[in-house]
């Protein structure tokens, strides 16, 4: 089956002067940059999936993806070409889940190109100090790879619901406009590390690879301490793990593809490079995907 590749990527990075910029605005900025870098026209996008977790105004309906589609100007009227927009929520793993779903839609011939976007921001007027969200956006444009063997290979998601209470995010409706409350347990990073190896092993097994065949690991940029312990857990040399935590904060669902975008900007991986994307989300879920450049 033809593989699915990242045709282009765009990001909207955290910046202190954009302290009021909402999640939709960040997603739209990233989406516009992604479309500008692509050879596809915006009208080619058949599916737009928003994987951002936290929403402007804590809107439950309509799908945030519809707002993003509207502001990106992708087939917004009921005439001519059509686009389906919907939200896919799975915490920090959402963008990778969405990439797999859009990939399946591409491979089943439903669409020509698909877009995965995410924007993160806590839109509360007075945010809870422990519920800070680094504002950011990321977007990917996916299409079928023209070269055999390149693009996304195996995906693996391992959920351990027994540890689900370690990371929760709820909107309290007790006060006007709602109030976002994010609770991260002190043992959260430990639990993610405990489950990381199983997800990586499953992805490698499905792809028929061993750990030493991986050239680069791009994990969500959780923290410096977390990434320093990750190589030993998954059995990969530390030099292969992309670590931008010195000047890039954890941005939730957008983190892994912001890291990918920065890596491509600094030194584009050469053709044939095997990349392992690694994401960590609530649930607890750890996701892994093999990608050949």
């Amino acid at each position: 089956m033809t593989r699915v590749r990242i045709g282009s990527a765009g990001v909207s990075l955290p910046a202190w002067w954009q302290w009021r910029k909402g999640s939709v605005a960040h997603a739209v900025t990233a989406g516009l940059r992604c479309l500008a870098a692509s050879h596809h026209r915006s009208a080619d996008v058949g599916v737009l999936v928003s994987a951002g977790i936290y929403r402007d105004g804590h809107v439950a309906e309509p799908a945030i993806a519809a707002y993003i589609q509207h502001r990106l100007g992708i087939n917004i009227e009921f005439q001519g070409r059509a686009t389906l927009s919907f939200d896919l929520l799975n915490g920090g793993c959402g963008m990778l889940n969405a990439a797999q779903v859009v990939g399946a839609m591409l491979q089943s011939g439903q669409i020509e190109a698909g877009m995965v976007v995410a924007g993160e921001a806590n839109s509360d007027r007075r945010p809870d100090p422990s519920s800070a969200v680094t504002r950011s956006g990321a977007a990917l444009l996916l299409d079928l790879s023209p070269r055999a063997g390149t693009g996304f290979g195996a995906f693996a998601f391992r959920t351990h619901e027994g540890d689900g209470d370690l990371f929760t995010a709820v909107v309290s409706l007790a006060e006007p406009r709602g109030h976002l409350l994010i609770r991260r347990h002190a043992r959260l990073e430990e639990a993610w590390l405990d489950h990381a190896a199983a997800a990586v092993d499953e992805a490698l097994e499905r792809e028929g690879l061993t750990c030493d065949r991986i050239d680069l690991v791009i994990p969500a940029q959780i923290s410096t301490g977390f990434l320093s312990r990750l190589p030993a857990v998954i059995g990969v040399p530390a030099a292969k793990v992309v670590n931008f935590t010195a000047n890039l904060q954890d941005t939730g669902s957008t983190s892994v593809f912001i890291a990918w975008h920065r890596l491509c900007a600094e030194r584009r991986p050469s053709a044939g490079t095997r990349v392992l994307f690694l994401v960590f989300g609530s649930g607890l879920t750890v996701g892994a995907a093999i990608y050949t450049v």
């Binding site: 804590h58 439950a60 009227e77 009921f78 939200d87 929760t168 709820v170 409706l173 709602g178």
Partner: protein
């Protein structure tokens, strides 16, 4: 320039720039065919591809809470009672409401019922996709993390399932089916569950506190009801049965007609709807997509045994039928199923609550051709054509037949 007929084409030469390009393209295509490599077809030549794997509804589970709340009783709760007869306008007499239960429990109960009818056990499920809009899992809270699908997976014991939530307003379950269909077709999963639990009572309660007049945008919240629905999908074993065509389209220019968010005036969530505009836009555009869905399936209206519209209200369903009659230029047959009178608008679950009721009453039978029509905020227009296998018979055998709505 080109000689021969049928599949064989002899490329002899070209004139001018475009002629040369055409010859070049045809030679490249011939070379690919000779090498046994796939040839990329232009759009509109779907007939040259192998038919995609068909997906069917293997099992259905619906859970309706026991408590019945009449429209009259709900209107009596309003602090400032609007001067209109909501029951007459909408045709909704009563709805089920979850008291002492939350959206998660509604989803879990329906998932358990779907498993009771299914040949799959929970641990056999490869995916659980939750499509609820209302993520009220505790009083006064709306949960974003973890995903509701994780909580459903934990409750039913689907220990190896891929889980995530798909949210697309009232089109959520059809959207979930579209996602699961793509995953099954590409072999990512073999089967999966699409589940939704909708607890809309908190929105109705906010409306009773905040409605100020007869044209208030929160009036639509008084038409909502609570329900849970779950489907188990797998690959169809018989090409005659299953989902033939499913399309969803978002007209994002109209994203302002309906939205749900925390109240700016007090506690709880609210639903703000420009009901008339939403219905007008929907009626303007959905017949075109309905016709396309029928054409793509190779059906006409006469081939349908039932149409299940989104159960917004009895009046909205009738308006939709009128819009279709105008578009097709003929009277519509009596094939439109509506149970909004007794269940209200149960948002994402409404099609399957209706299917549940009409399967139990014996109106929907094995081999029936169905068309599901949905209009959701966004605006999302969706249509699904399907032929049922022996599901109605199995459903009646498990849950008993009768005219009433079994909970």
């Amino acid at each position: 320039m080109l000689e021969g007929t049928g599949a064989g084409v002899l490329v002899t030469g070209g004139t001018g720039y475009f002629g040369a390009r055409l010859v070049q393209a045809l030679r490249a295509r011939g070379a690919r065919l000779a090498a046994g490599q796939p040839v990329r077809h232009r759009k509109g030549k779907a007939g040259m591809r192998a038919a995609p794997l068909k997906v069917r509804i293997e099992s259905l589970g619906v859970y309706l809470p026991e408590t019945v709340l009449t429209t009259a009783a709900l209107m009596d709760r309003c602090r400032r009672r609007p001067r209109l007869d909501l029951e007459t306008i909408t045709g909704i007499r009563e709805r089920r409401v979850a008291v002492g239960e939350h959206a998660l429990e509604l989803a879990v109960h329906s998932a358990e019922r779907a498993l009771a009818l299914s040949r799959y056990r929970a641990e056999d499920l490869d995916a659980v996709i939750c499509t609820s809009i209302s993520k009220h899992h505790r009083d006064g809270e709306f949960t974003f993390e973890p995903a509701t699908a994780v909580l459903v997976r934990k409750a039913i014991g689907a220990s190896r399932a891929l889980v995530f939530d798909v949210v697309n307003a009232c089109a959520g379950m059809l959207n979930g089916i579209a996602v699961l269909q793509a995953l099954i077709r590409t072999g990512v999963v073999r089967n999966g569950m699409v589940v939704s639990g909708e607890q809309n009572l908190p929105l109705a309660e906010s409306a009773t506190r905040e409605i100020r007049h007869s044209l208030d945008r929160q009036l639509a919240a008084l038409t909502l009801g609570d329900a849970g629905a779950a489907l188990i999908l797998d690959a169809a074993t018989d090409a005659r049965h299953g989902i033939h065509h499913l399309d969803l389209v978002t007209g994002a220019k109209h994203d302002h007609y309906c939205r749900s968010l925390p109240s700016p005036r007090g506690s709880g969530g609210i639903l703000l709807t420009k009901a008339r505009g939403l219905q007008r836009k929907g009626a303007e555009h959905f017949p075109v997509y309905l016709k396309r869905a029928l054409d793509a399936t190779g059906w006409s209206i006469a081939d349908l045994q039932h149409v299940i519209p989104h159960q917004v209200s009895v009046r909205a369903v009738r308006q939709g039928v009128k819009a279709l009659a105008r578009y097709f230029g003929c009277e519509m047959p009596d094939i439109f199923l509506c149970n909004a009178e007794t269940c209200g608008n149960t948002t994402t679950t409404s099609h399957f609550v209706a299917l549940h009721e009409f399967m139990l009453s014996g109106r929907v039978n094995p081999g029936d051709n169905l068309l599901l029509v949905s209009g959701a905020s966004g605006i999302v227009i969706s249509h699904a054509t399907m032929t049922l296998d022996d599901l109605p018979e199995r459903y009646r055998a498990l849950w008993g037949s009768g005219a009433g709505v079994a909970s």
